[in-house]
């Protein structure tokens, strides 16, 4: 991270587990992230690698029956590890917020959008209902929604996905949080809208002065918008590096495979989405040793013996693979 940038997220050794004590299964482990103000850190990986679960863990919103632990979890300097649920609820939407993958399902279908803005703004900004109405219009303006008055009187099903995602961004950023978790914010949108919404997020990040955790499986997007990339596989970070370094000199065989799929899609003559053969293991049963071993063309006996730890290979560049340890 560049010197002089204030840290808005500092999480060390985040762990998400499920099941009762005694038969607890670890789903996500050892995720450590540092995000500076006006910085974007990306989490990438195939579907099912634990990216969403990691984002939800930061929000204290993992599903019932799961537990979150971390050596350190600071958002805007506030320790979230020892918070009761009502205390955590006061942090959400104020210091840390989240934008979800599917805007069509994100808002309550039986309440007018304006009502939902009012609930959030009166709660997070402490304003009266009539002031909330004015603030809602300003916020819609800030995310490029015109005709705000009419929009606020509508229900979610009367709007398009792109419009709704703008609304969600406006709601999430209403109280100018220190950190935004954007979980595949454009995956459900048309390609033309994707660029617009990403540009909006980048712009709002500058204005609000927040840090961003960008969850995505779209490496093109990540290359353009993230400052640092964390590649996740089976609930672990297997490689992390500044974005340019990651794309210029990837090291982990999984990262190499991911990048190869992107290059194949991008090169002419291939219209079929290529992917890495095989599929990732379930989070709660990653196998012994390196979880990628069954799909890795470099795998040796050594790989299944121990779980490789993240180790530095260059300044700010860490890799969890036995090949890079030598």
């Amino acid at each position: 991270m560049a010197a002089g940038t204030e840290t808005v997220l500092d999480v060390e050794n985040l762990r998400v587990s499920s099941g009762a004590r005694g038969e607890r299964r670890v789903l996500v482990r050892g995720v450590s992230l540092t995000v500076g103000r006006r910085r974007t850190v990306a989490l990438v990986g195939e579907s099912g690698s634990g990216k969403t679960l990691t984002g939800l863990a930061l929000m204290g919103l993992t599903p019932a029956g799961t537990a979150v632990a971390a050596e350190r979890l600071l958002v805007g300097g506030v320790d979230l590890t020892r918070m009761s649920e009502p205390e955590f609820a006061r942090v959400r939407g104020r210091r840390i917020a989240m934008v979800f993958q599917n805007p069509m399902e994100a808002l309550n279908p039986v309440l007018r959008v304006g009502h939902q803005f009012s609930q959030v703004l009166t709660r997070n900004l402490g304003v009266s209902r009539s002031d909330a109405r004015d603030r809602a219009r300003e916020l819609l303006d800030s995310v490029g929604v015109s005709d705000a008055r009419r929009r606020l009187g509508q229900y979610p099903f009367e709007m398009s996905g792109g419009m709704l995602q703008r609304m969600m961004i406006a709601l999430a950023l209403a109280a100018e949080p220190d950190l935004l978790v954007a979980d595949e914010p454009t995956t459900a949108l048309d390609t033309t809208l994707q660029a617009q919404v990403m540009a909006l997020l980048a712009e709002r990040r500058e204005d609000v002065g927040m840090g961003m955790v960008l969850v995505s499986h779209d490496l093109g997007l990540v290359a353009e918008y993230a400052d640092e990339v964390n590649v996740m596989y089976a609930g672990r970070v297997v490689e992390r590096a500044p974005t340019r370094e990651m794309f210029a000199s990837p090291v982990h065989p999984y990262t190499l495979a991911l990048l190869r799929t992107v290059r194949e899609i991008a090169s002419p003559g291939t219209d079929r989405l290529s992917s890495i053969p095989g599929s990732p293991p379930p989070l709660d049963d990653p196998g012994s040793g390196c979880a990628f071993a069954p799909r890795c063309s470099f795998a040796t006996a050594e790989c299944t013996a121990v779980v490789p730890e993240l180790k530095g290979v260059a300044e700010g560049h860490d890799v969890a693979c036995v090949r890079s340890e030598r």
Partner: protein, 315 residues
């Protein structure tokens, strides 16, 4: 909305017409002779013939139906064979009793079922949830006559705190007429509450798992706000089911009213069928159909308001 109301009114009228024909035909083929019932077994064939003429039973079915329909259009449903009183007045009086009973039963049922359903939905899988589910299962599986009899035995016979039967005397105070309502209302309220609790448990439980709940929480909304927002979704399917319950109650709770000898529509239905009192049977059955359709209409309107999607897209 007006188009909708008009269509529904048309449906109501057509249904009532068809129901009236059906009721006439069924009664025509029912065993027994009303004149015989009115006069008793000792009546001579000649006396019965006279009585039949008096009751208008000597004319053909077709003729009787047309006459009846003509009067019915003026809300005149004829006179009871048994009492000679106008059927309309008899039915209105009985419906007044049923309405009173049902309002209390519905209020009690909601007061009991709503909190239980919400509590169970918010703590699914807990011991509290299991307890509530057990109560609901019991409330639904114990037959109404058993529940009514049990309540009579405990509160009227053993503790003697409530009257066992009837509706009291005319002109009594509100409080003492309420005393007659408590046990039958409780009998009706228990299964009502059980159905409500069960539906809410499922519907609210599912609503709480919807993505919009996660979003609302991610925005820092209070738990109470989140639950109320989800509840507004859960109520839409619940309203339909509860509407059917209300419709069934208003059409006359036959068993409960009989167990408590409560002079409502249900009791009147049984009485009139037993005495082959054709005009009253026709009247109560038509009232039942009308009330049921009316309640369903109200349900649709309420759902239209609760569900913006239906209101706006007319889906």
């Amino acid at each position: 909305m007006w188009r909708f109301a008009l269509v529904r009114t048309g449906q109501l009228l057509v249904t009532l017409f068809l129901a009236s024909v059906a009721v006439f035909l069924v009664i025509e083929h029912a065993p027994g002779d009303p004149a015989q019932v009115q006069l008793g077994l000792s009546a001579t064939p000649a006396e019965i013939a006279v009585e039949r003429r008096k009751l208008g039973l000597d004319a053909s079915v077709m003729h009787r139906y047309v006459v009846w329909l003509g009067q019915a259009l003026h809300l005149d449903l004829g006179r009871s064979f048994a009492t000679g009183l106008p059927v309309t007045r008899t039915i209105v009086t009985a419906f007044g009793y049923t309405l009173r009973l049902d309002v209390l039963a519905i209020v009690l049922g909601i007061a009991l079922g709503l909190p239980l359903g919400i509590a169970a939905a918010l703590r699914r899988g807990s011991r509290l949830d299991a307890g509530i589910s057990a109560f609901a299962a019991l409330g639904l599986s114990v037959p109404v006559f058993a529940m009514g009899t049990l309540l009579i035995l405990v509160f009227a016979v053993h503790f003697k705190v409530m009257p066992a039967a009837g509706a009291g005397v005319p002109g009594q105070s509100v409080l003492s007429s309420l005393r007659y309502l408590v046990l039958p209302a409780a009998t009706l309220a228990i299964p009502f509450a059980a159905v409500l609790a069960r539906y809410l448990r499922v519907e609210l439980g599912e609503a709480m798992e919807q993505p919009y709940v996660l979003t609302a929480r991610s925005l820092g909304l209070r738990r109470r706000t989140v639950v109320v927002n989800a509840w507004r979704n859960a109520m839409i399917p619940t309203i339909t089911v509860m509407g059917i319950q209300v419709g069934r109650l208003l059409a006359g709770a036959i068993i409960t009213e009989t167990v408590f000898s409560y002079p409502g529509i249900g009791y009147l239905t049984v009485q009139s069928i037993q005495s082959l009192d054709y005009p009253v049977v026709e009247g109560v059955l038509l009232l039942g159909a009308a009330v049921f359709l009316l309640v369903m209409f109200v349900v649709d309107v309420v759902i239209g308001f609760a569900s913006p999607r239906m209101r706006i897209e007319g889906a």
